[in-house]
Amino acid sequence: MVKLGQLSRIPLEVLQTLGRYGLDFFERLGRGHVFMIYVLMGFKDVLQRWQLVVIQIFSVGVLSFVIIVISGLFVGMVLGLQGYNTLVDFGAEESLGVLVALSLVRELGPVVAALLFAGRAGSALTAEIGLMKTTEQLSAMEMMAVDPLHRIVAPRFLAGTISMPLLAAMFSAVGVLGGYFVGVGLLGVDDGAFWSQMQDTVDLRDDIFNGIIKSFVFGIAVTWIAVFEGYDTVPTSEGISRATTRTVVNSSLAVLGLDFILTALMFNK
């Protein structure tokens, strides 16, 4: 009987560990949502201090501009090359414009821009807020009766949410131009067919608006994760590095997962 008791204790410990991870996960998830409610309540303060958001759009959006444009250009050019090589076998290289535009507007534009945004801006947000917490600047603000959620987090969240759709649109637009450059400029696809087939197939509401909705959702997700991880940092230098890593990993996974759900909802005909 003693032996049986010892044996049965091992699975129990496993279950206990599993339960602890589960509880931790849901506790963090719940804290993230309560945190977001407080941030949303801070929006009324933000509207009175619009300047704060403008500065944050500069550091979150404008500074991501170069990486977004260059990546968009290269993704578009690669799509042009690869698409041409496949389509030319079927004598359908005139459809290159459709292929480039649809893949960019529907998927690659929002998703790749969001992944780059998570790496470029999300990690910076987490590190900044995390360092503010570690150096007790946030506590100091609270001492002065300034709510850091309203003053620090809300403008950053709003700036990220505004910047993301704009960046994704730039990514797609530059990507189409890159595909045009390779397809028409280098490989000799007909200029008129490239644009006209694209315009014939790409739909404003089904494709472009849905792409914008996607990037908007991704913007909310990435910025939310970034500011929450920053605010929830363990206030040590190791804690900051972990929080930054978690931001990039979690927000990338969130973007890809959300992308699947959104695509399933939007494009199931």
């Binding site: 759009i57 759709p165 649109a169 730039m170 637009a173 530059v174 014939d200 739909d203 404003l204 472009i208």
Partner: protein
Amino acid sequence: MLQSKFIETVVGIFIAIGLAALLMLSMKVSNLSSLTSEDGYVIKARFLNIGGLKVRSPVKMAGVVIGRVSNIYIDEKSYDAVAELTIDEDFNNIPGDTSANIYTAGLLGEQYISLAPGGEETYLKEGDEIKITSDAVVLEQIIGQFLYSKAEGNSEGDL
């Protein structure tokens, strides 16, 4: 103060570029006309077989897109396919005896409805039905018929 002015200007440029990109996507990449074609009038056409016709396939007259297929369904009594065509309201003088054909753009292209105007004085209105239609050409059927007739010809030749 100069610093914040600079940031404001750069952010302004950033947002302007973003909006310009959106505008380029909607004007240059997509078909804006699909939005305006929503406010047209609807006529119906009945086919035995619509082949690969889809909702949003173009409706053309003399090669010019004048509308889109807005709905496709089966008539529950006759088992015909009924296509609802939303025609741009600019083209409100389509004769009553117009015929509708389903054609394919190129060998592998998408299918579209081509309207051939008749000579009647009365024009089609909202809810009217096109009486003269011809069905989609299904490539497999034609190939099948061709092979069949070929085989028949050969066997006669042997005898």
